[in-house]
């Protein structure tokens, strides 16, 4: 019985998500200009759903103060209040409104994660492609440097750096981005290594194409697929990094709300079957899945497969 009910809800949720995705795509196709329209028609339901979620997150993040029923840091009642009409999702470990914290959390978490991942990819992929293309001593120097940085476990390294440089949002972004960029570098370099031995690169070199053009016009488009796939994952790893850092007492400064720390703060409740700590975790998961659905769609287009 329990299994059947579970299955029913599972199917119902998936159906609802797909329906929402379809609705979103229909509306989006109706309101967007011609060029985009054509693109959107190729989007599968999963990608439409993903785009919808991302847009909702962005709206929530931008308009957080207008949407949230209570201020980010206000204590509105006793801790761990159950769900009711005033506090739709109850209160957290200090008696702050859970829903409002989640909404403000969207702003802080998504903003920081995006900035961090973008920075990491900027550094990592440029250096990685450069190393693979130029080769020689530059490749050696960069690769060895990255080797050294990667040989130190990420969590412990960021713990060291953040303790030394302090824990402002900017240092947090830079430290995580630098550590993450080493992973991107490695991937970009290894993908590009396979490309630079291709004949068309040889041809481009013979044509006398400059280094920058070679990288951006010939190598990058062909290395894009694995890099984009990696972007989707790295994006969500940033949440986890912040969460793990708050496990060690080094996350964002209070009373800022971020989902990673919120999971940590309420996590012990799960041992008693309370689902409150699942909420921020689900918020992270939903965004991760959505981003990756969209990434998959783009990946599929990039691969040139027609089916």
């Amino acid at each position: 019985m329990g299994f059947l009910t579970g299955l029913f809800w599972f199917v119902a949720v998936i159906a609802a998500c797909m329906a929402a995705g379809w609705l979103f795509r229909t509306i989006a196709i109706a309101v967007t200009p011609k060029g985009v329209k054509k693109e959107l028609r190729t989007a599968p339901l999963t990608a439409s759903f993903g785009m919808m979620v991302i847009i909702i997150y962005i709206i929530v993040a931008v308009f957080a103060p207008l949407i949230a029923p209570f201020p980010e840091r206000m204590v509105v009642g006793p801790e761990y209040m159950p769900w009711d009409e005033t506090h739709l999702l109850g209160t957290d470990n200090l008696g702050r409104d859970m829903l409002s914290r989640l909404i403000f959390g969207a702003r802080n978490t998504v903003g920081i994660a995006f900035a961090t991942t973008a920075l990491a990819f900027l550094i990592g992929s440029i250096l990685g492609l450069l190393a693979a293309t130029v080769g020689g001593w530059l490749d050696q120097a960069l690769s060895r440097m990255v080797d050294v940085l990667m040989a130190i476990p990420a969590l412990i390294f960021s713990l060291l750096l953040l303790t030394i440089f302090g824990t402002s949002v900017i240092t947090l972004i830079i430290v995580i981005a630098v550590i993450d960029s080493t992973r991107v570098f490695r991937l970009a370099r290894s993908v590009a290594l396979n490309i630079v031995v291709m004949d068309y690169i040889e041809a481009a070199k013979l044509r006398g194409e400059g280094l920058w053009r070679l990288i951006t016009r010939e190598i990058l488009p062909n290395a894009m697929a694995p890099l984009v796939a990696e972007f989707g994952l790295r994006f969500c790893f940033v949440f986890l990094a912040i969460s793990a850092l708050s496990f060690l007492g080094l996350g964002l400064q209070p009373p800022m709300a971020d989902w990673g720390s919120m999971v940590k703060e309420n996590a012990t409740l799960i041992a008693f079957g309370d689902i409150t700590p699942l909420l921020p975790a689900v918020a992270i998961a939903l965004l991760t899945v959505s981003v990756n659905f969209v990434v998959d769609w783009q990946l599929h287009r990039a691969s040139g497969l027609k089916e």
């Binding site: 006793p78 200090l94 409740l269």
Partner: protein, 522 residues
């Protein structure tokens, strides 16, 4: 450190000064008697204790002990000269009796004879001297160095050890119950601080720091009605949820600290008993009284009225504790000032003091980490919310847990702290409030307070002494730099198969860390 102090239970100060074993012995017997009356302890079983603290970098050296793992290990493996009984009184352990000179500067301790170590060695007076000397001297690396520093000389006379102190101290026998000072076997006047030997109730079978330890019962133990378990196991479980899971699933019998956020849920688990012991452990937010703006007492008073103490006790401690009144003396202690007005959240009064200081709003940073006390950062967030109503803008800066005690505490003007408390009022005040004391975390200096402290230490008249301690608490509360919003109970939990005496000691966690010796399985 203890809920009830030195003189509770009608034992007079002069009695302890004489230190006759009769008095201590009476206390010992009565507590044993009470235990027997309640339930007959039975031998057997393996006690499995899960502990929240304990690091791979711990050491066997008694001078380095500082966390619950090492201190529980200490009391399971070792004995001390004196013992703090469950009711907070001082009773003899390896010292049979003691006597002080009239000025309390010379103390003669008679050492119990025939006490056997796990290795078979028999305790001598030389062992006592060597065990204490380990913490003394210029090259001492012991955390206990300041506590034993007043001992200027130790002489052996048969089974007697005669201590000469730099100045009179009526509380000296209490000092010897400190967990850093176990009695270890000596050779040529020196102990091996890394030894695993001891004369306590259990002997170490296996020990790995940061992981755990196993013990078996010491069959030659000199106390006949103690140490009921056949074996003891200590397990370090840092994660609160994992610790509670281990108890609920029956993989351990006792956890030394419960997560206060969810303790109400833990209580509902079948077969689990939550044990809360209110002692003198208190959480504080010390202000550096030399630094602006805290150098102005009006600012300090404004901050003291801008904190909602009851809310902190309810939220941070989940009700397991009591509000504090900005002095370190617990309500169970003998000279607790019952006439002192309890400070409460009062934004108007806070504003009044701000006006007295000549400002109408205030911006301050407070530097906190959960290393200071569990929930410190959250406490700061709650505080900043209530203080805002009084025109005080408190900016909570979360500092890394790592290195908190060396970089933040006593380094930045406003931070967080915790104290386990001390067994006597004098020890507490002279440790952290006397001018120039190494741990005077507020850098506070109050002439009248210092005078009273010295006078009370040597005062034998009960009423005069009470008056002095009352005034000291008053001064501390109204002029001190320590903001002490709450006293926190020790909250642990155990399986309902585990039994303990009528009274559970409140000087430390784990029944004064003597759980292995005092508890039993039903």
């Amino acid at each position: 450190m203890t809920k009830t102090s030195l003189l509770s239970g009608g034992v007079s100060r002069r009695g302890v000064l004489k230190g006759a074993s009769a008095i201590g012995g009476a206390a010992l017997i009565s507590s044993m008697g009470a235990r027997k009356a309640q339930a007959q302890p039975t031998r057997g079983g393996t006690l499995r204790v899960a502990q929240a603290h304990g690091s791979t970098t711990d050491s066997m050296d008694p001078g380095s002990w500082e966390n619950d793992f090492t201190i529980l290990q200490a009391h399971t493996r070792n004995n001390y000269l004196t013992e703090i009984a469950p009711d907070g009184s001082l009773v003899p352990e390896l010292a049979e009796s003691w006597e002080a000179s009239a000025d309390a500067a010379t103390w003669t301790f008679t050492i119990r004879s025939g006490v056997q170590f796990h290795s078979g060695h028999i305790l001598t007076a030389e062992d006592v001297v060597a065990s204490l000397r380990h913490h003394m001297g210029e090259d001492s690396t012991s955390a206990a160095a300041p506590i034993v520093a007043p001992i200027t000389d130790m002489a052996v006379d048969g089974m007697n050890v005669i201590f000469t102190l730099a100045s009179g101290n009526a509380d000296f026998p209490f000092v010897l119950a400190d967990y850093h000072l176990p009695m270890l076997p000596s050779r040529d006047g020196e102990i091996d601080p890394m030894t695993m030997d001891g004369c306590g109730p259990y002997k170490i079978e296996e020990l790995e720091f940061g992981v755990g330890a196993t013990y078996s019962r010491h069959e030659g133990y000199w106390k006949s009605d103690a140490a009921y378990f056949d074996a003891v196991e200590q397990i370090v479980i840092h994660d609160a949820a994992a610790r509670q899971n281990a108890l609920i699933s029956g993989e351990v019998d006792y956890i030394d600290s419960a997560d206060l956020n969810t303790v109400h849920l833990l209580q509902r688990a079948p077969g689990v008993v939550v044990l809360s012991v209110t002692g003198n452990q208190h959480y504080g937010l010390p202000m550096d009284t030399r630094a602006a703006p805290f150098s102005d007492n009006n600012i300090r008073m404004a901050l003291k009225y801008a904190i909602d103490r009851q809310q902190l006790v309810d939220t941070i401690l989940n009700g397991y504790g009591a509000v504090g009144n900005d002095h370190p003396i617990g309500s169970g202690q003998l000279y607790y000032n019952t006439e002192l007005e309890q400070k409460a959240y009062d934004p108007d009064r806070a504003r009044y003091y701000l006006a007295q200081a000549g400002v109408d709003s205030l911006d301050v940073d407070i530097h906190l980490a959960d290393a200071a006390f569990a929930g410190a950062v959250d406490a700061g967030v709650l505080y900043s919310e209530t203080a805002a109503a009084a025109g005080i803008n408190i900016n909570v800066v979360r500092e890394p847990n790592d290195g908190y005690w060396s970089n933040v505490w006593m380094q930045l003007p406003w931070c967080g702290t915790y104290w386990g408390g001390r067994p006597t009022q004098d020890l507490m005040f002279s440790t952290a409030y006397e001018t120039g004391a190494p741990w005077n975390e507020t850098y506070w200096s109050h002439e009248r307070f210092n005078e009273l402290l010295l006078a009370a230490r040597a005062e034998l008249n009960e009423d005069l002494r009470r008056e002095m301690y009352f005034e000291m608490q008053q001064i501390c509360s109204d002029e001190g730099g320590a903001l002490i919003p709450m006293f926190a109970a020790y909250v642990g939990a155990h399986s309902d198969a585990l039994m303990h005496g009528e009274q559970v000691a409140s000087n430390w966690r784990n029944d004064g860390h003597r759980i292995a010796e005092r508890w039993w399985f039903a």
